[in-house]
Symmetry: C2
Subunit: 658 residues, 2 copies
Amino acid sequence: SVNPDLSSERQTASFCVERLTALLDGGTEQTRIRRAVVEAIESDPVFSRENQYFQTQNERYEAAVRKAVHLQKKMHEMGWTENGPEYKYIYRALSGDVAFLLHRVFMRSISVLGSDKQIAKWIPLATQHKIIGSYAQTELGHGTYLQGLETTAVFDTATQEFILNTPKISAMKWWPGDMGRSATHTVVFAQLYIHGKCYGIHPFIVQIRSLRDHSLCPGITAGDIGPKMNFEHIDNGYLLLKNVRIPRENMLSKFCEVRPDGTYVRQGSQQINYFTMTTVRISLISDEVLTPLMKACTIAIRYSVVRRQSKLKPGEQEAKILDYQTQQEKLLPQLAAAYAFYFINDYLQELFNRGYTEIQRKNFDMLPELHALSSGFKAVITQHCTAGVEICLRACGGHGYSLLSGLPSLYTKILASCIYEGENTILLLQTARFLIKCFMAASAGQPVPPSVTYLAAVKHGKCPAKNKLDFLNPDIYTEAYQHVAVRLTSHTAAKLQDLIQSGVKKHDAWNQCTVQLVQAAKAHCHYIAVKNFAETVEKLETKAGIQKIMKHLCDLFALHGIFSNTGAFLHDGYMSAAQMDMVTASYLDLLAVIRKDAVPLVDAFDFTDKSLNSALGSYDGQVYQRLYEWAQRSPTNQMSPAYDKYLKPLLHNTLSKL
Amino acid sequence: SVNPDLSSERQTASFCVERLTALLDGGTEQTRIRRAVVEAIESDPVFSRENQYFQTQNERYEAAVRKAVHLQKKMHEMGWTENGPEYKYIYRALSGDVAFLLHRVFMRSISVLGSDKQIAKWIPLATQHKIIGSYAQTELGHGTYLQGLETTAVFDTATQEFILNTPKISAMKWWPGDMGRSATHTVVFAQLYIHGKCYGIHPFIVQIRSLRDHSLCPGITAGDIGPKMNFEHIDNGYLLLKNVRIPRENMLSKFCEVRPDGTYVRQGSQQINYFTMTTVRISLISDEVLTPLMKACTIAIRYSVVRRQSKLKPGEQEAKILDYQTQQEKLLPQLAAAYAFYFINDYLQELFNRGYTEIQRKNFDMLPELHALSSGFKAVITQHCTAGVEICLRACGGHGYSLLSGLPSLYTKILASCIYEGENTILLLQTARFLIKCFMAASAGQPVPPSVTYLAAVKHGKCPAKNKLDFLNPDIYTEAYQHVAVRLTSHTAAKLQDLIQSGVKKHDAWNQCTVQLVQAAKAHCHYIAVKNFAETVEKLETKAGIQKIMKHLCDLFALHGIFSNTGAFLHDGYMSAAQMDMVTASYLDLLAVIRKDAVPLVDAFDFTDKSLNSALGSYDGQVYQRLYEWAQRSPTNQMSPAYDKYLKPLLHNTLSKL
């Protein structure tokens, strides 16, 4: 039975939830396929995540391996293939709680970086799991700066082998998933040396564990890097190499080859490969970043209509906490952001598909823009969504702090996305570099890529809004965002030039502008996200009330951004204080409007109870029962392990006299 | 041997580290006592926290009980007493990793709320640990709103007993520490009923476990609430009461008594008791909130001068990451905030000591102000410090994400401080209510408490700064903060009045202003923190360079607040865009100045390696060695537990054919 405080929220939905779900999925057929996959996975007890919050790192790892192995069977049984329409839903249905993800990266890197001969040899072995692969790039001492990697691979002409070493402790490979305990092979990135000359970083296939008994191969030291904030199910590992010899054929050689005599040959274009690396940043957004925020919103919003605390009006029943303006102000902007980023993700996916087609036609013109967009949006979305999940967690008070709420693990997992696949600050600075370059080009009348043409049109106008309703006009707020992005970019470009002209060296000047460059890059992405949301709303079906509620969310997303960062819009007088007060008024009004549809808006995400794995967020809203029942199953609910040794002697005063 | 990249940072300190340490401790004698306590605790292997990151919840709990029991011996052995000068350093030296903290709360509540007879009976039992106490207030359904608690205590005149019940699932006590597995007794807060009439919440001593064998008493259901984001060492518990009868004498009756015939008598003044509850909020700031931020700063800053990544200048060695402006901008404001809040904590302690004296003299005038300050600062400091620890964690990239860095557990622990002892938003609204009331009074020419007299002097001036150096003048920035606090309070007061005058009901009007009321309360606390820091610097010894570096930190704290919240200062034209650019310039300049002393400034916090418990933050900066050595001891560094069952059959293809 559904908690009446929750079911009443559903009876007044202003739109059709099922249609919104289909819209998010990309059609009713997609919804059907997704639900079928989820049903198949969740009804299989091997994939259960029910005990996850009680398990140790060892137990989590073992379960993840069991699931990975079982998944092979399941796919065969269900007739799912890697190219089938179901495939993309499997990982999501498992909530990523499965091993051998790096095995897939291992295979992809061979496919992309390997010669045809290498592909023919290794891919079948990997596909049949006769080997288990990992991907060893990051070292103790180097993550972001790949050129600084210290592992070496020296070519020995005499034996036609590469000799691999991690010559210093900081050169030790550190973090690669599946490597700590599972992998038999890995792709090691190392500085290639031939006849004493360094040719830079290259990939090498290295066997690390015996295929017979899984013992470490000669010269290999490897193990698990120990406990982390999350990802207990993954055996992130370390790897030391001491004079490990591998045959010449093990250097992945689609783009570079070492001939038997030691001649180094570079062949083909690596650009498609760089592009592949860029797309990884985009591909992770959906499952690793958006899904956690959408789940957190679902949990926190459902809880906030079930939890009653204190009274809004004297003499009345205690109020649902979502009826408090402060609670709305915490949660509803996160909900709006989840939709905004869902739509920008669609936009990026489409752009990258187009880019891929162009690049296959050997047209590399889009690469810089795609790189800038993928870097910037990876940083902005991961940062925003991580903050959003944390807000949802805190907004649930004490119960949000229990692992059983599901929120702590969503937070500790999404937090990692701010760090992996490029640290966010570094990525934003790459976007900023592109912006500055394009701004200079545009100022000089040269053509620039589509996403930055707006930089050319520096306007010094003022915001034309006359009353608070004007701020519900997407043209008004989109232009405001554009204005800020242009201002921050042009001001920072000017500061940079001033510094250089005053004699500061170029790299010093750049460093002295980086705090502001980061702001400019964020403003650029924020502008595009707002513009894209507004355009998406424009194109939506006008039936079923969906366009209307999406328009409200778009307005909220835009106005929340202004309200939270008023200085950027006030700075040069683009907006006046009076206009900012209108923004605030419109923004606060919107909270009360969207609050009415808050539960239907998270219902539309269509998460099952099992996928939320939360005592606070279940569809039926029976929060307290679930917390109690679940807690009783905790391994801490046995007789105190300290009783005989400490509590009993203490209470009975048989402890050695103090 | 100290990493040369770290030791070089110490050679150029602009001030005497040891003198700053003494200043923070309150004198060299205090430093000596503190170090002696730390040394005694850390040299005792029973208190070791070395394995903490590897332990399960059960193991953590057992260790915490062991430490609590051992601490009794240790104190006796060392001659430490609860009233001695060492006492306040013990908990800090243990990093709070010890059981029976609620036993102390149990004792304090009896001392404060109990009659002399009750104190005489229960306190000796508790002191000798013949019983172990807990404190059962929070329920599944109620935390903040105490009046809403649902547990009942019905007086039965016939038997002279109270009959206690948790009549609904939401009435179940939930969260009390030490109650899940350890406590034999607890103080239960319940609605008192006599002859069918409710007299509100009262405290009752209830035995929950047998003193013979620790089994649950009749009518009691209790256990552990399961896994949380941190505090694995504490057995937070649940408690169901079913017709549990306790004698009339077990109601704590210093302020209220039930006579044998059921007559309810209220006696004495509870105000000193309310004051006690208020001071708890202040007393937790030092150990639970400031210490974690100071530790996080120590770890992140030391790591940032040891970690080298990428090149600032082409052709040079890779740069220390603290030399990047963006890294400085992440960490140094947190360092400045740690000092700012350290000093405001001193201010609050002193104020509360004065308040205590006044209240003992039956002068309760200071209570509203003290309540407003303790609420507001508890919220502002916990929020700021939690965000600061998170920034430190993220600023360490991948290594910050390892539990071995120490940062994740600092974060997950400090996060709880935003929730317990009053949820922050609720607390800020209590401060705001005081501000609005005082503002109205001041506007009407009535006297107001000292901390808010500034509200009376609404000035409509403009910031007089003419160049960026003017913003290093404390008068300039303190006044700016004051201006913003006044503006936000007065504007919100005006909005509130407008709404009420336009016919909106008072409680609705209040709710519609709460987002802005929270802003006003934060601005008030921020202003006081800046003013207090500036005044503290004023009074410092001018020798040994300490005043100078503290002045820089004070400037940074103030300017960072403006830089991060420019809109508040630009809104009504108090500052111009040109002035804001000066703020930015001065702020960024300061980063480079303070960066030089960053390591000495964290060294002055004087944390030992054992207390940091971090592979990144040790005094010698041997980061990579420590990570590697520590990881090798992880329980995940055994043969894969999945090998025989899953990996071997998979690799050897003996899994049942797919």
